[in-house]
């Protein structure tokens, strides 16, 4: 669909005035672009402000009126995060949480999705109904019992406690099941005739066919896990277990101490946001496909 196409279709709205209408709608397209550009500028302003602020000195970021371009760009804010506040530990914690969550979610969701798509067994409908029914339960509802459970297992302030409750999600199950329903039975029969068992069929034939939904699920699980805040906040009790968002939020909340150092906070936000932003721009096709494929963020 090209721009000319679009205006032509609009022009068809009044066939009698076709010729006279065509030109104003070209102008209309220009107006649309201008409006969208202004909106886009407002949308990315906070990121621009964050990047600029991260490179400003403490004196400059506190000075008024505000300055835009850093007068004497500095890396001090980043240096402070790496050497003074040891951001490497929360960074590695965040990476570990995301990696473990993605790995288990992909494996478990595809396994259960496969069984729900192609197998007949007692309890199947019960699983579908229960998982579907709990899909929109607010996270805060299960928060306190989850904490009590994890505390009783002695897992508060441990990686197990951090990772275990987020290991499975209803979304992945339905995404995988939906995709796997489309896999033709004839292909599976062929594998069976060739002597492949259920597990071999699953790992060597089914999973390689599911690269697209697995990529989508991996991206969304990674994002959710990287951005998650409430559970890591309550399960970690000292800075050895903090993830990046917890680290930044608590740092920023200490208003009395270094909380007022805005350059540092901007640099902290920068370090959390930029890796994900780069990942997003590199893989934006998969993101958008994923949303349109599932209708759910």
């Amino acid at each position: 669909m090209t721009a000319i196409d679009g205006s032509a279709r609009v022009a068809m709205a009044a066939p009698a005035e076709d010729r006279s209408r065509r030109k104003p709608f070209r102008w209309g397209n220009l107006v649309v672009m201008v409006v969208l550009s202004i909106g886009l500028a407002a949308t990315i302003l906070p990121f621009v402000w964050m990047v600029l602020g991260a490179f400003k000195t403490k004196a400059e970021i506190m000075s008024r009126p505000v300055t835009w371009w850093p007068k004497s760009p500095t890396l001090d804010n980043f240096a402070a995060w790496f050497f003074q506040f040891d951001i490497l530990r929360p960074f590695l914690n965040s990476v570990l949480l995301a990696a473990a969550t993605v790995a288990t979610t992909l494996l478990f969701s595809s396994m259960v999705g496969w069984a729900l798509a192609k197998m007949r067994f007692p309890g199947k409908n019960a699983i579908i109904v229960v998982v579907l029914a709990t899909m929109f339960v607010p996270g805060i509802v299960t928060l306190i019992p989850q904490f009590v459970l994890v505390a009783n297992l002695g897992m508060v302030n441990t990686y197990w406690g951090l990772i275990l409750p987020g290991m499975v999600g209803a979304f992945g199950v339905f995404l995988m099941r939906q995709f796997m329903l489309e896999i033709p039975d004839s292909l599976l029969d062929a594998a069976r005739i060739d002597g492949a068992g259920e597990f071999r069929t699953f790992f060597q034939i089914v999973l390689p066919l599911c690269k697209a939904p697995l990529a989508t699920l991996a991206i969304f699980t990674f994002m959710g896990s990287w951005n998650s805040f409430l559970w890591p906040l309550i399960i970690s009790q000292d800075d050895s277990m903090y993830t990046l968002p917890v680290s930044l939020a608590l740092f920023s909340a200490e208003a009395g101490g270094h909380g007022a150092d805005y350059g540092l906070q901007m640099a902290g936000s920068f370090l959390i946001v930029i890796p994900v932003l780069v990942l997003f721009i590199a893989m934006q096709k998969h993101f958008i496909q994923g949303i349109t494929m599932t209708g759910i963020k």
Partner: protein
């Protein structure tokens, strides 16, 4: 050949055995999920409800027999607690203002994008989606700094002669400031879903309307909107469910203040948890759960009547 004849006498029992075997294999596939889901989602969901009828506190967690049944006491104390009621009001204001704003802007953007060429549309789509993928905590920290009295937002408002308020320190504007940020962050995901919905409307319908003499505005209200109803419903429920649970934004930007003007239900539940009042927190969480369910049901009814 040989095996098939050998099996024939016991055909029914071998069929049952085979069925048992395939059921067993299926359960091997589902059990890792069912176990973790059951232990970490389902049991907590049920015990949260059970908890809300008891007097469980932090010191009781290793000692469940200390806990007594207290009936509806927690629900009464939550619903008569002034802070919680303020949180309830804030949450509803946030939803009532935030959801329509988000959906309206997202729909307008989607319609505008849909009129452009694909390459240009992709560029804008990526740009508008960017806030969605960023960590709320990180962007909330940035927005908090931007919202300062002499910060960049008021500086820019000054360019057009507006003397901006001290956004987050003024109880009259703090919730609005947080709502604006939430709308900014969530427009992108609704927009992309709307765009997918718009692209699935068959071109022939619009052409037929055009032949019948409908203009662009008529087509929008008589063709596009009715065809988009299922997408609008999906987006409304998704955004409402998300907004009802807002927590990260006030936690980082205002900690619920000033004067509890930005406290939310989720923040209240968290605070009860922090003070060790587990059963009161569970009751508050269940009230939120019921509200989310009721709102989804109302929206579902409302949209079904219109399609």
């Amino acid at each position: 050949m040989v095996t098939s004849t050998a099996r024939r006498p016991g055909k029914t029992s071998s069929l049952a055995a085979q069925r048992r075997r395939s059921a067993l294999i299926a359960w091997v596939f589902v059990s890792p999920f069912v176990l973790t889901f059951g232990v970490f989602s389902l049991i907590p969901l049920v015990s949260s409800l059970a908890m809300s009828f008891t007097d469980l506190r932090a010191r009781d967690i290793r000692n469940p027999f200390n806990v007594n049944f207290v009936g509806l006491e927690n629900f009464v104390s939550v619903l008569t607690n002034e802070s919680f009621l303020r949180a309830l009001r804030n949450t509803l204001v946030f939803v009532v203002v935030g959801v329509p704003s988000t959906l309206f802007i997202a729909l307008v953007l989607a319609v505008l994008l849909n009129s452009l060429s694909r390459r240009v549309a992709t560029f804008f789509r990526v740009g508008y989606y960017t806030p969605v993928i960023t960590t709320i905590v990180a962007v909330a920290v940035v927005w908090r700094i931007m919202y300062q009295d002499t910060g960049v937002i008021n500086t820019m408002l000054g360019w057009v002669g507006i003397d901006g308020p001290n956004w987050l320190s003024d109880p009259n504007t703090a919730l609005m400031a947080i709502t604006i940020m939430a709308v900014w962050r969530n427009i992108g995901s609704s927009m992309v879903i709307f765009l997918a919905g718009l692209q699935s409307i068959p071109a022939e319908i619009n052409e037929a309307a055009a032949i019948d003499g409908a203009n662009a505005v008529q087509k929008f209200f008589r063709v596009t909107i009715p065809m988009m109803m299922p997408t609008i419903l999906l987006n409304t429920i998704l955004v409402t469910t998300g907004y009802m649970q807002f927590f990260d934004e006030p936690f980082v930007m205002t900690n619920g203040g000033p004067l509890e003007s930005t406290t939310s239900i989720a923040l209240q539940v968290y605070n009860q948890f922090k003070y060790g009042n587990y059963s009161v927190g569970a009751a508050g969480a269940y009230i939120l759960f019921v509200l989310v369910g009721i709102l989804a049901l109302i929206q579902f009814r409302f949209f079904r009547q219109r399609t």
